[in-house]
């Protein structure tokens, strides 16, 4: 008989505790103002870095993680008249054009932009600033390739050779951002016209038994054989140039060398550049500007590598040891114009689906 009383008490404590501990929305006019940052789910930053900004500007920073990058952009576009946040972080160059066309950003010419390399600054109208970049590259299982006495592929074309038959796993460009980046790399290299187009290349990959899965985690954890804890059997995967460094950093036992390698040969990688911008119709323009400047400062930039495994856009930012030791940058990454990506994305993905999946 007493059991139900105990359980009921626990339930009530948990429930009411939940109500009182829930954060209060909209702090009153007396406290510091709140700056809201919208970003994607896998975004990360150090606590100190944000606290420092909060102290300098007497502000509370609140993050809103709004799904994957595509979902986040859709949310921002749909709610552009009544935005959920003041600043948006994490639009990459495959989505940039759509964001700019939807006119969700306020132009702001950040002073810190002067330090940022020209190649990363894709919007001449200052609606967004480049915050970081990363290369989507082939990764390989060092041990498996050595045992099979196979050389590391040095070009995309190599992947169609019979010795690599059944060894590669890629992500579906229709559902995955590295998948789309890799498709862009093949379009940049082989083009759409001529004797041998990107679709011919993909047909050859298909004949060579390429495996397509929905997303990066399925590809890397379930199908790739190289990661320290990967369950798969395929020694080649589309991942990032920094993945080998992450393998070392997140290893259980200290590792001298990573178990995987990244192919960074010319014209094999696609560079994803990420941008941040001030959302239109926001209420804290001055703070948003300060935050954009802060994003490009070395304080924030030096925090980026270990949090998100990409490179800071500001060359003055010092890289952590694990990056200088094990991370690689693509030598001559493939480029495709952002406008072309936006215009043709659907057609490209459909043609790709027709060639590879049907």
């Amino acid at each position: 008989m007493k059991r139900w009383l105990l359980t009921l008490t626990i339930v009530i404590i948990l429930v009411t505790g939940g109500c009182t501990a829930a954060p209060t929305e909209e702090p009153g006019t007396t406290g510091p103002r709140t700056l809201r940052i919208m970003t994607y789910d896998s975004f990360s930053v150090s606590e100190e870095v944000i606290r420092q900004f909060e102290e300098i500007n007497n502000v509370t920073v609140q993050f809103l993680q709004a799904g994957d990058a595509g979902t986040m952009l859709n949310q921002a576009i749909l709610s552009r008249d009544n935005p959920q946040a003041d600043v948006l972080y994490g639009i990459d160059n495959t989505f940039l054009s759509r964001a700019l066309e939807a006119d969700i950003f306020e132009p702001y010419q950040a002073k810190a932009l002067n330090n940022i390399p020209e190649a990363l600054r894709l919007d001449a109208q200052y609606r967004v600033v480049p915050t970081d970049y990363g290369d989507v590259c082939l990764n390989y299982d060092i041990q498996a390739l050595t045992e099979a006495k196979l050389p590391v592929p040095q070009s995309l074309q190599d992947l169609t050779q019979p010795e690599y038959k059944g060894l590669l796993v890629v992500e579906n460009p229709a559902s995955s951002s590295p998948g789309l980046a890799f498709l862009m790399a093949t379009i940049g290299v082989f083009g759409e016209d001529g004797d041998y187009t990107y679709l011919d290349f993909w047909q050859a990959l298909r004949d060579n038994d390429v495996l397509v899965v929905d997303g990066w985690d399925s590809a890397y954890y379930s199908e790739f054989s190289g990661g320290a804890y990967s369950e798969g059997t395929r020694p080649l995967v589309v991942s990032y140039a920094t993945s080998p460094a992450a393998e070392v950093y997140f290893s259980e036992e200290p590792l001298e060398v990573p178990p995987t390698g990244a192919v960074t040969a010319p014209q094999t990688c696609f560079r994803q550049i990420e941008f941040a911008g001030i959302l239109k119709n926001g209420q804290n323009r001055d703070l948003a500007e300060a935050f954009i400047e802060y994003l490009l400062s070395t304080d924030f930039q030096e925090d980026i590598p270990l949090q998100m495994w990409v490179y800071p856009s500001n060359p003055e930012a010092k890289l952590p040891q694990v990056f200088t030791d094990f991370a690689l940058e693509a030598e001559d990454p493939v480029t495709v114009l952002a406008e072309a990506i936006e215009q043709k994305r659907e057609a490209w993905i459909e043609a790709w689906t027709e060639t590879v999946l049907k």
């Binding site: 993050f63 495996l211 890397y220």
Partner: protein, 562 residues
């Protein structure tokens, strides 16, 4: 015409649930559909209709329907023997066994996919055994990325619905009816076919409908386990929205999905309305016994073993892997070496998840009881068929959230809840309401068959003896439907724990839940991240099993075991 007060009772009971449904379902849905269909200079209706009626879309609809139908049949075929044993036998460890079969329901597909890869992929124990016995040069069995994998995963996820809903109802059926038929010379099959099956139909129909809608809106299973060759409506809505911002097409597809769900549910209600009947229900203790003969023991053990193999092998695989480095992955959960602002302390995740789940459970139970009682009253009051038709239309409306695309409803919340009258964007309340919306169909489907089976004469007798309506409910209905209520509670708890539906889009980073923590670990490479995702999944399973067992044992004072 003036209505007598008692005629208004159903409306009074239903008003709160209907308001809830209006504000948290129809209003956001209407907002997103309006915004989508007027997107970028308005809608070209003919073009949209042509697209929706075009062969690619029809193919997607066909496949979605077909896989859901097959999955439902398969789940029933595999689940019914389990339900029979659940209803007829009591055996040691039964409640833990039941709790375990419900765990799949909460697990994120990414995690289940890993377990399936281990068990069904080229390096599976089965394949390795086959290779060593028969000397195959290649792994002979690879179920990954096949239609079979989708079906298997759907059975894995939904088995518990059949077991709990049908088994729970079956356990209250009077065994004497079937025994009488047998005495009169019916074969066991005849007795089952002509006596038990018709009596089971309400719960069988309810479970089938839920399983079907669940598979019909399948997303993660199809995307991750089926691979890119298979596309359901839900997957297509997501792709049209997120990849192409093709909002009119996404809205059109979403509407197709909702319409099919509606038609299906209406058909179901129509068929069911003639089937539910008051029954002489019996308490569990009088219908269940220990298996006695060798055959019975073999039956129970055999079924338990098969179920364990099918359902708990993946769970066990995950748990074992999570201890792959001793407790290293668990201790890592408590560390934040990169001092990330998004670090999720494990206890906080457990607390947030449990809180959301408990509040969701309470809210959906209250609303579910109001709905069920309202329907019961309305059907009782109706002299002709006309009024009972009203309740089955309402019944179908409450099922719709389950058959609505999560992306669509999530974006609807974004639009509708960002301004008055419901400025709830970014509050935990919205998450709870979102969970409740999805949990309600489970509570209703579980409660209604039980409530309709209660003999009206019992209630009338109590009323005649002077009991108030509240007392009649407390003393007569509640004890009889308590099991069904517990089943509904389990599923409401589960829906919230597993972060189903639209709420994954409106989750709050400052209130991280267990599934959010799992996704975060799985988004970066490295052994530790993967290990921590497995550890977090194991914690999720443990919290759920504890919750399920607590719910089953919880009983208010004065409510007798039935």
């Amino acid at each position: 015409m003036k209505k007598s007060p008692s005629k208004l009772i159903p409306y009074a009971l239903l008003s709160l649930p209907l308001l809830f449904l209006f504000f948290f379902y129809f209003y956001p849905l209407a907002e997103i559909l309006r915004a989508s269909l007027t997107w970028e200079g308005g809608l070209q209706l003919s073009a949209l209709l042509a697209r929706l009626a075009g062969p690619p879309t029809l193919k997607v609809i066909g496949f979605t329907f077909w896989q859901a139908l097959l999955s439902t049949i398969l789940t029933l075929v595999i689940g019914l023997p389990g339900a029979y044993i659940f209803a007829h036998y009591d055996f040691p460890g039964k409640s833990i066994f039941n709790a375990l079969t419900t765990v799949p329901f909460v697990l994120p597909t990414v995690v289940v996919a890993t377990a399936f890869t281990i068990l069904l992929g080229p390096k599976s124990p089965l394949n390795e055994a086959l290779i060593s016995w028969f000397g195959f040069s290649h792994p002979p069995l690879d179920l990954r990325y096949t239609f079979g994998a989708i079906l298997l995963a759907h059975v894995f996820y939904n088995y518990t619905l059949v077991l709990r809903m049908v088994g729970g109802f079956w356990a209250n059926l009077d065994p004497h009816l079937e025994q009488a038929a047998r005495t009169l010379g019916a074969s066991p099959w005849q007795a089952f076919r002509q006596v038990t099956l018709p009596l089971l139909m309400p719960s069988l129909g309810a479970a089938s409908l839920l399983v079907f809608i669940f598979c019909f809106t399948s997303f993660g299973v199809v995307l991750i386990l089926g691979g890119p060759h298979f596309v359901t409506l839900e997957v297509e809505v997501y792709r049209q929205t997120v990849n192409f911002t093709n909002l009119p097409v996404a809205a059109g597809l979403s509407l197709v999905q909702i319409l099919i769900t509606l038609l299906l549910t209406l058909t179901y209600s129509r068929l069911q309305s003639g089937l539910a009947r008051p029954l002489d229900l019996r308490p569990y203790w009088s219908t269940q016994r220990r298996p006695q003969t060798g055959g019975e023991v073999a039956l129970v053990m055999g079924n338990t073993l098969v179920t364990l193999l099918l359902l708990t092998a993946p769970l066990l695989t995950l748990t074992i892997r999570s201890f792959g480095s001793g407790i290293r992955y668990y201790s890592a959960l408590f560390e934040n070496p990169r001092s990330s602002i998004f670090y999720v302390p494990p206890f906080e995740a457990v607390r947030n998840s449990t809180r959301f789940a408990l509040i969701t459970m309470l809210l959906s139970l209250v609303l579910g009881i109001l709905i069920s009682l309202g329907f019961l009253q309305a059907d009782k009051k109706s002299v002709d068929n006309e009024q009972s038709q009203k309740t089955w239309l309402l019944d179908a409306l409450f099922m719709l959230p389950l058959g609505t695309s999560a992306v669509t409803l999530g974006l609807g919340y974004l639009l509708a809840m960002g301004r008055p009258p419901l400025n709830l964007r970014g509050t935990p309340l919205l998450i709870i309401c979102g969970h409740t919306l999805v949990a309600l169909p489970f509570v209703m489907r579980s409660l209604l068959p039980a409530l309709k089976a209660v003999q009206p004469s019992l209630r009338e007798a109590a009323t005649t003896l002077g009991a108030s309506p509240a007392r009649v409910f407390w003393e007569i209905d509640l004890p009889i439907i308590w099991r069904a209520l517990a089943v509904g509670a389990v599923f409401a708890f589960t829906v919230s724990m597993g972060e189903f539906g639209a709420t994954s889009m409106i989750a709050r980073p400052e209130l991280p839940t267990i599934p959010i923590a799992i996704y975060r670990f799985l988004s970066q490479p490295g052994a530790l991240n993967y290990g921590q995702a497995l550890a977090m999944s194991t914690i999720l399973m443990t919290v759920c099993v504890t919750g399920f067992i607590a719910i089953e044992f919880l009983r208010p004072p004065g409510v007798q075991s039935f």
